[in-house]
C-alpha cells in the first residue's frame, strides 16, 4: 500500500496530537493538518480537575508540547476551527468557516461532550468540566463561592469534590450510585474512597437522583433531590458522564453507536480512523467492542492508528489503565476491574492506606488496583494481566 499523501486529523488534543507525532516518528512525510474546535494550543485534560483547578499550576503548564516541538511536526494547525461535516467516502471535512479539506485519510479524534441535566443551562453558576475554559471559569467561581454541590459520583465528580474541598469549600456530592466510583471500581474500593471523602468533610448523598436545580435572580441556589432534600449551593458542578462528540458526523456514512464504530484496526471506513475517547473498536484480546475514556488510551491507540495509516495491519489490544488522584490518594486501575469481580488484597495494607489488590472473575484475574502503590500495581499487572 502506498502511504496517504495527505492526512487530516480532527481534534488536536491527546489522541489527535499523538497520532500526528507518531506518524512523523514512523517516517510519514506527507501533508498533515490538525483541526480543533478550541482556540488553544493542545493541552492536557487530567490536570484540569487537579492542579489547574486547585491553582497549583498555571494553565500553560498543562500544555501538551512546547512551541518548538509543535513547529517541528511540520503540520498545519487550525485552531478555533470546528469541523461540521465529514464525507467519509470522499474523505472531505467541512469546517464551520466553510473550509473544505480533502485528504487521502481522515482521523477522528474529537473526544467527548459532557452530558447536562435538564434545566442546567438556565441559572448562572452551574458548570461542566471538559476543557480549559471550563476549568478556568470554574476555578474563578470556586475562589469566590462558599458552597459547592457536585452531581455525579464518577471519576470527574469525585476529583472535583476533592480539589474543591482542599480549596476550603463546603462540598456536597450527590450521585445515583450507591458508592463513589462504584461503577468503575466496585463496592469495596468505592466504600474506601467514600470514607476518605467523608473524613475530609465532604457530605455524601448517594443512591439519590436529582430532581431539579433551584435558582433565584438568574443564579443557582441549590440542588433538589428526589427525596425532597434541598442541597443549598452557590456553585454546582454537573459531572454525570459524557457522550462521544459525533454530532458533526451525522450524514457522514460512518457507523455511529456508542462512539465511532471501528474494526479491530481502529478503522471506521476506508481511509478513515478514529482514536481516543470518541472511538469504539473491536478488542480482539477481550473479544468484544470497547470504548475507553482515559488518557493512556488516547496515546496508545494513536500509535496503532498511525501505524495502520501507514500500511501496518495491527489490531489494537491494550490493557486498559486509568489513574485518579484525590487528596493524598493515588489510585491506579489496570485491566477491566468490574464491580462484579471479587477483590483481594495482594500487597500492602488498606489500614495503612497503601495496598494493591486483584479483581477476579471466575477465578481469572481481570483487574489490578493500586491505592498509593503505583509501582507495585504495575508489577502485578505484568504478572497477572495479559493480552
Amino acid at each position: 500500500m502506498t502511504p496517504p499523501g495527505s492526512i487530516v486529523i480532527v481534534g488536536a488534543s491527546a489522541a489527535g496530537l499523538s497520532t500526528a507525532e507518531a506518524l512523523r516518528r514512523l517516517g510519514y512525510e506527507g501533508r498533515l493538518t490538525l483541526l480543533d474546535a478550541e482556540p488553544h494550543q493542545p493541552y492536557d485534560r487530567p490536570p484540569l480537575s487537579k492542579q489547574v483547578l486547585a491553582g497549583a499550576w498555571e494553565p500553560a503548564r498543562a500544555q501538551l508540547r512546547g512551541q518548538t516541538q509543535l513547529d517541528a511536526l511540520g503540520a498545519e494547525f487550525a485552531q478555533g476551527e470546528p469541523a461540521v461535516a465529514l464525507d467519509a467516502a470522499e474523505r472531505s471535512v467541512t469546517t464551520a468557516s466553510g473550509r473544505v479539506l480533502r485528504a487521502d485519510a481522515v482521523v477522528i479524534a474529537t473526544g467527548l461532550t459532557p452530558c447536562r441535566l435538564p434545566g442546567q443551562d438556565g441559572p448562572a453558576g452551574v458548570h461542566v468540566l471538559r476543557g480549559l475554559d471550563d476549568a478556568l471559569t470554574l476555578r474563578a467561581h470556586l475562589t469566590a463561592a462558599r458552597r459547592l454541590v457536585v452531581v455525579g459520583e464518577g471519576v470527574l465528580g469525585t476529583e472535583v469534590a476533592a480539589t474543591a474541598r482542599t480549596m476550603g469549600l463546603d462540598v456536597t456530592l450527590a450521585g445515583m450510585g450507591g458508592t463513589l466510583l462504584g461503577a468503575q471500581l466496585g463496592e469495596v474500593i468505592g466504600g474506601e474512597l467514600a470514607r476518605k471523602h467523608a473524613e475530609r468533610g465532604v457530605r455524601l448523598r448517594l443512591g439519590v437522583t436529582v430532581d431539579e436545580l433551584t435558582g433565584a435572580d438568574g443564579r443557582v441556589t441549590g440542588v433538589r433531590l428526589a427525596t425532597g432534600e434541598l442541597l443549598p449551593a452557590d456553585a454546582v458542578v454537573v459531572a454525570v458522564g459524557a457522550r462521544p462528540a459525533t454530532g458533526w458526523l451525522a450524514g457522514s456514512g460512518l457507523r455511529l453507536g456508542d462512539g465511532v464504530e471501528c474494526d479491530s484496526r481502529c478503522r471506521a471506513a476506508e481511509g478513515v480512523y478514529a482514536v481516543g475517547d470518541v472511538a469504539s473498536w473491536e478488542h480482539e484480546g477481550y473479544g468484544r467492542r470497547l470504548r475507553l475514556e482515559n488518557r493512556t488510551n488516547a496515546t496508545e491507540q494513536a500509535q496503532v492508528v498511525a501505524a495502520n495509516l501507514l500500511g501496518a495491519d495491527r489490531p489494537y489490544t491494550p490493557i486498559p489503565y486509568f489513574w485518579t488522584d484525590q487528596y493524598d490518594v493515588k489510585i491506579q486501575a489496570h485491566g477491566l476491574p468490574s464491580p462484579a469481580a471479587e477483590l483481594s488484597v495482594a500487597e500492602g495494607d488498606p489500614a495503612e492506606q497503601r495496598f494493591a489488590a486483584l479483581y477476579r472473575e471466575d477465578g481469572r484475574v481481570t483487574g489490578v488496583l493500586g491505592w498509593n502503590m503505583p509501582k507495585q500495581a504495575r508489577l502485578l499487572r505484568q504478572q497477572a494481566l495479559a493480552n
Partner: protein, 66 residues
C-alpha cells in the same frame, strides 16, 4: 539522545517502564519515574521515543542531537 523527566507531571502510570525497562523505573514509595540512564544508546532509541509518546502525563522529553 538526552532524556529529561518532569517528576511533578508524572502520574506514576509506569508505561515508560513497560516499554523501556532499561531506561526507566519507578520509585517504590510513590511510583514516580526514575531515570536509570539519561543518555541511552542507539539500541534504546525506538523504545524511548515510544515511551515518551505514550506517557499519559507528557512527562518525558527527548532531546535529539542535531
Amino acid at each position: 539522545m538526552k532524556i529529561t523527566v518532569d517528576e511533578d507531571k508524572c502520574c506514576g502510570a509506569g508505561n515508560c517502564v513497560l516499554i523501556a525497562p532499561e531506561v526507566f523505573d519507578q520509585r517504590d514509595e510513590d511510583g514516580i519515574v526514575v531515570l536509570l540512564r539519561s543518555e541511552p544508546g542507539a539500541e534504546e532509541r525506538a523504545a524511548v521515543l515510544e515511551a515518551a509518546a505514550v506517557c499519559p502525563a507528557a512527562a518525558i522529553e527527548v532531546h535529539e542531537e542535531a
